[in-house]
Assembly symmetry: C2
Homo-oligomer: 376 residues x 2
């Protein structure tokens, strides 16, 4: 896995790069659609590739471990073979879901004991075990097992949690470096900066992560309820410490404005359920602003969802029709909206990249942040 920086924006810290994996290259900055259980919700694999033009998608270790389970994934030859997605895959470590979804969980030095939200069965995630699971899933990018602290968080808890995340990271590294990929292609571990919203902890964590010298680095524990300005402050602090020649991945972020602001601070990779989850609730992100497609306002608006954006879903279906689909509780409502929102998110990062290459990113970003967040 290699990362080549091809341009720096002269007026911000934004960069354009190319991340090369055994499943193909990724043009950064990039947004990664979330395919929790091996499916980007309500979207066919063909559409993820050909309509949305996604270059990499996410899989979720917690969900995939519970269902379909490791035996099936191993026999399938990994997640790529199982779901038919032949471009890169990144898997999160499952930590976040263990904390947010499982019925009971106990965090100890060894790892996290939890009960499945599906059938109540007991499980233990350890740093070593989670590395092994991601080997079986066959992700191109494997995330370290960490604790994602809630916000707000006591300083003392944040510090202790960060220290444990660092100790867990050493165990993750030891395991990854002493095992081999199962399917013949390279798998790289990205460690994760924690430290809540405390500057000294974030600094300490970013320095610790940077020192590991891995192929890429991530910033976790943000976009968990803190004000956007605080998120940007932490992102900037981390980006300034994390190595410039490695990709930086900001986990779980965010709105179109969040993405553009964080690109300006030096982030290269993003993922978020927002475009797909909000799509299923009728919130559409467009090049002109945000649409709540269920509103009466769109009842007889027969114009396409987003003519300027282009692409099948956004130009074929009218606002009036999609509004009708939501009111009639049709499957197609969530399907059209999901393809549209993801097409928009990939359009957003593709355009950000072009603006960085052209040296015009800052001005464009200032304009877009306002335009894209307008409620139409």
């Amino acid at each position: 896995m290699t990362f080549d920086l091809v341009a720096h924006d002269p007026q911000t810290k934004a960069r354009a790069g190319v991340l090369t994996t055994d499943h193909g290259t990724i043009q950064t900055p990039i947004f990664m659609p979330v395919g929790t259980a091996g499916s980007v919700k309500a979207v066919h694999q063909r559409e993820v590739k050909e309509d949305i033009n996604a270059q990499i998608i996410l899989g979720n270790t917690y969900h995939l471990y519970l269902r379909p389970g490791l035996d099936t994934l191993r026999k399938a030859g990994g997640l790529h073979k199982f779901n038919g997605w032949d471009r890169p895959i990144l898997t999160d470590s499952g930590g976040y879901q263990v904390y947010s979804l499982s019925e009971t969980r106990k965090i100890k030095e060894e790892g996290v004991k939890f009960r499945s939200h599906i059938d109540g069965s007991h499980h233990l995630f350890t740093p070593e075990g989670v590395m092994d699971i991601q080997r079986v899933i066959g992700a191109d990018i494997i995330m370290a097992f960490d604790e994602c602290t809630p916000w707000p968080c006591e300083y003392d808890y944040a510090r202790k949690s960060m220290d444990m995340t660092h100790r867990w990271l050493k165990r993750c590294i030891e395991r990854i470096d002493s095992t081999e990929p199962l399917y013949g292609y390279e798998q790289q571990l990205f460690p994760i900066v924690q430290g809540s919203t405390f500057r000294d902890l974030r600094k300490q964590s970013a320095e610790f992560i940077a020192a590991q010298g891995r192929a890429g680095n991530a910033i976790g524990g943000l976009s968990v309820g803190e004000p956007a300005e605080l998120m940007y402050e932490m992102t900037e602090l981390c980006c300034d410490i994390l190595p410039a020649d490695k990709p930086r991945y900001l986990m779980g972020v965010g709105t179109p404005a969040n993405i553009l602001e964080n690109i300006a601070l030096g982030v290269d990779m993003f993922d978020c359920v927002l475009p797909t989850r909000n799509a299923r609730n009728g919130m559409l992100f467009t090049t002109q602003g945000i649409i709540n497609i269920k509103n009466k306002k769109w009842e007889q608006d027969f114009s396409p969802i987003d003519e300027e954006l282009g692409g099948y879903a956004s130009t074929f279906y009218s606002k009036s029709y999609v509004r009708h689909l939501f009111h009639a509780s049709e499957y197609l409502a969530g399907m059209v909206s999901s393809v549209h929102n993801l097409t928009f998110y990939l359009w957003l990062v593709r355009n950000a990249r072009e603006q960085i290459l052209a040296g015009t990113f800052r001005e464009w970003k200032e304009k877009m942040v306002k335009q894209l967040m307008v409620r139409l």
Copy 2:
């Protein structure tokens, strides 16, 4: 609208024809996917056309009248413009849904008073009103307003109901013949044979319908719970009376076996919610037989859903993956299964047509009826 018969099977009453409408031609025998509220459930319009190769779809008068409503449909320029489907559309008359879905309904000579299943509002469907509604929807083929009797049904009730359906038909014809299409293309009325499962009533009704000399004719009130043999008996009786030079449409039928048997009796057109509804419940119709994809049996079967069938959904996704999608309650489960089942249904009628053209339909049908209904 013209109907040209291009071949007759030498050993059965099966025929192959071409039905020409202002929205294009339909190769018969044909299966029409059901798009109740203007959307074939869980399937993009592009897939209905390009993957499934549907030549005509159904819309539902009752649903479309209630939602999005006539004002929106008229302003959109009809259903074709509203949902973006540019091939032929047939609308049922709404009668069946009034009886099965609405909270209360009162059948009188004038028409049917009912309350919306959505908001409880009061409505009246009359033969004239239903013709006007279908003019607004803009269907290429408009169905007469009838009463679909339940099964079993008292002889006396069936006779009285049939007589009223005939009187309603005269009113439908008068209305259609004294009004014009709204959008510049031809709309043709198909009357419907009723009479439950009583031979003398069916004969009387088929003769009455045949005498109207419309562009096509339908057989209703079957596949409502009666044994298949009784359905076939009634279909044959009706087909033998209905004009040979007009398309015959058997409403709401059925399983793959039902379709093949009825083609053999002279039916040209079919519709049914079975392929899409069962798809959403995990029942897949394949060229090798019927699969309950949720079963443990398919957990680690990584072969495509149906290699022989061809097409994106049926060959790209594995049985194991689709089973996983159902167990994980993913949108994609119903999406893949719906495209697959409809692809299968269109494959079925396309192959039936080819066999009729080749003069080999009977033998093929006997084999397929057994093969397709096997539980795998």
